[in-house]
């Protein structure tokens, strides 16, 4: 049975997708000609064209990327920055259609049927939009960074936009009713269900078409819900998920802000509670939200509205995060789009709900109820002391104790991915045990020899004299006698880069009272690096 002979229940919605794959690099303010990459959890998440031409690819490890391109500028991921800057791109599309839908910063989707009639056909609409966004991106120093695709259903349109991007054609329009054939020859991995597609490849189903040819009964029986979701994408039946419809009006939740919120954190804090209310309302009915309209009203009666969509059900935290991104975009965006006064009312309208199947807890751990509780508590703490005050550890690897594990700002328990592959040998690193206390910007001290002059380390890593005591706080500060010492461990870091090059030598000192510290000398100046507590 060929896939096309299966009549779809309802023809999937004609959709236009705009994709800017390098968005998180663009949002960081980097030029297209600079090699740069966004690296989070030790993996490359996005690259600039210059970095790609050096061989840096998405999914690579940090060290591999740096090996291929030593001058690579590394950018930390920041969804807030991405979303805030994206408001200017989303604003461009307001001239084409009243309603756009954002899923992640860098991707916009909207139903294409109405606008394409107005603009004289799919091709005309797509190229007009590509031109408009190109103008906006060129002003940021980027060209040829956008792909526009039109096809039946959001998934096929998304693939079409990616295809357009790779073919450097900017625009790819798949004629009505041919989206199944368009997807059929593509490798199965484009479905983006990594675990499932790995199994399918082993079963000999290497293309989307061969998977689409299976009957849905068989797929559901063998692969369950995940399989059925993937199958629906392969057959371009997405967007017509059964039981989808606008929910009854009473699910809208609104909060009045008194005094009006001018700052994002004030509004976002209210939004978080609102998202929880919405989540509770829906889950009481056994529903979950997959598309939400965020609407705000300002003191001057301005109405701003934006739709956010996610694949599958959004948790309360996910909704709150989308709201924060959007508020950030509005309140900190360009002057043309910024509301002229504070926000007095914030409304969340669940536009599309699906049956809440409950989130399955991961088979090998994963998200649990305790994680969700902890996530909410940490978010509350962020509300009290500011977002950057709550951090979580990320393993990076390095020589000094402060480099090996760094703290990154907490963004939610869902998107945690900590890699444990940083245990590769680092020449020049200090042997275990690790010191319990580290000092971020080294406290200055002086390591003295028995005659009262400062100990130095020569270019060949030899001490000028045996350390005898340490002075902290200048000549008349406290004095600590040294009972034993070890080292020095020289380290010559990033010698290929003049700006970040550091040449240091480290020394372990044991004081006569038994405590041990790690001190470092750099350009003749000693500083405290860590304490073995």
């Amino acid at each position: 049975m060929s896939p096309t002979s299966v009549p779809a229940l309802i023809s999937p919605m004609r959709t236009l997708v705009v994709r800017i794959p390098d968005w998180s690099v663009i949002a960081a303010g980097v030029k297209a000609t600079d090699p740069a990459a966004v690296i989070g959890a030790n993996r490359v998440q996005a690259t600039s064209p210059a970095a790609r031409s050096e061989g840096v690819e998405v999914g690579q490890r940090r060290r591999e990327a740096q090996r291929r391109c030593p001058s690579l500028l590394i950018i930390d991921p920041d969804p807030n920055r991405d979303a805030q800057a994206f408001a200017s791109i989303a604003g461009v599309l307001d001239h084409f259609t009243p309603r756009i839908e954002l899923s992640i910063p860098g991707t916009i989707a909207f139903p294409a049927r109405g606008p394409s009639r107005y603009f004289g056909g799919d091709e005309m609409l797509a190229s007009a939009i590509a031109d408009a966004i190109d103008v906006e991106l060129t002003s940021m120093g980027w060209s040829l960074a956008v792909g526009v695709g039109i096809a039946d259903g959001p998934f096929a349109a998304d693939i079409a936009a990616t295809t357009a991007m790779h073919a450097l054609g900017r625009v790819c329009v798949v004629p009505v009713g041919t989206s199944v054939e368009f997807l059929a020859p593509l490798p199965i991995a484009v479905l983006n269900f990594p675990e499932l597609t790995e199994v399918l490849v082993r079963l000999g189903l290497r293309t989307v078409g061969s998977f689409a040819e299976l009957t849905s009964d068989d797929v559901v029986a063998r692969f369950g819900r995940e399989g059925s979701d993937a199958h629906r994408l392969a057959r371009v039946e997405d967007g017509v998920v059964p039981n989808v419809g606008p929910p009854p009006k009473h699910f809208d939740v609104t909060v009045e802000l008194e005094p009006p919120a001018e700052r994002v954190d004030v509004a976002a804090f209210a939004a978080r509670k609102l998202a929880d209310t919405l989540h509770d309302l829906l889950s009481a009915e056994g529903l979950a939200c997959s598309r939400v309209v965020i609407a705000v009203e300002t003191e001057h009666d301005e109405l701003l509205e934006r739709v956010w969509r996610a694949e599958g059900a959004m948790s309360a935290a996910a909704v709150a995060e989308r709201v924060r991104w959007q508020l950030d975009g509005w309140l900190n965006g360009s002057a043309a789009q910024r509301p002229t006064s504070g926000i007095v009312r914030l409304t969340l309208i669940p536009e599309e709900v699906i049956a809440a199947t409950g989130r399955q807890q991961g088979f090998w751990g994963g998200e649990t109820e305790a994680d969700e509780r902890a996530g909410r508590a940490l978010a509350r703490v962020q509300g009290i002391v500011g977002a950057t005050a709550v951090t979580v550890p990320e393993v990076r690897g390095g020589r000094s104790p402060a480099d090996r594990v760094v703290r990154v700002v907490f963004t939610g328990t869902e998107c945690r991915a900590v890699r444990h592959d940083a245990h590769a040998p680092w020449p020049g690193s200090i042997p275990n045990p690790v010191p319990a206390l580290v000092v971020d910007d080294g406290v200055a001290l002086m390591v003295m020899d028995a005659y009262g002059s400062v100990v130095t380390v020569s270019g060949r890593s030899l001490l000028s004299a045996e350390p005898d005591h340490v002075m902290v706080g200048g000549e008349r500060g406290s004095r600590f006698a040294v009972a034993a010492w070890a080292g020095p461990w020289p380290s010559d870091e990033r010698w290929w880069d003049r700006q970040t090059h550091r040449r240091r030598a480290r020394l372990q000192l044991v004081f006569s009272d038994g405590r041990a510290v790690l001190v470092a000398i750099e350009q003749g100046r000693w500083s405290l690096e860590a304490v073995y507590d």
Binding site: A370, V392, A402, V434, G473
Partner: protein, 253 residues
Amino acid sequence: MFDTVGVVLSVSTSQLRELADRVKPVVLARENVLSISGPLAAVVPDGSLRRGSTLTIAGSGATSVALELVSGASRAGSWTALVGLHDVAPVAVLEAGLNPERVAFINPGQSARHADVIAALVGAVDLIMVDARLSLRQQEIRRLGARLRECGSVMVVVMPGTDPLTLRCTGEIGSAWTADVALMVEAASWQGPDRGHGHVQSRRISIETLGRGRAAGGRRHVFEFPSGEGTIVSGDPAIDASDAVATVLPFVR
């Protein structure tokens, strides 16, 4: 049709006992605990952290001891928050064996809302490690203690042994912090470095336990922490490596 006779469940009795403990209908306060793994369990009454209780740890080596005490519960799935304690090395937290996916560092800054921050965590985060240097009023601490008992989190108040800014030894924990169990760590000299060679490897610590209720009485335990192999060995390894050497001290209030 299905041959089940040969199937042997690969579950040990201890695992079954643990499961039975978890599902039984009545849980005594003494049994509602977060477990401590490793030899350091000996320093705390019943060898575990009772939910709702407060521990204080001070002295040279306090940071490592505190991290080691909470690591077992963290590995078992509990969340840990470090409030203040900005100088505690994230790498030490991970090396102590805490689950990196369930650790959060909170920098409460200079804000006067330290108690609010901790109160927000109580009940949601099982292990709250609090910097003894934070300024909390006695009344706030008492209120937090009541909330802890109600919600079942454990608060571990830590005074790192050395002040990194002056390199001086820190003093004892302020009297405002009331504790169910108070641990005083004393570390002997670090072993390993000589005059120029070797590296920091091991040290002997002794932990004195004081406190209320079952912790009253006062006990002292000696450990090799870390030992040369990076593990913890209780007692004097030269005498007996398997048994903790515990001496009962008179408790003077």
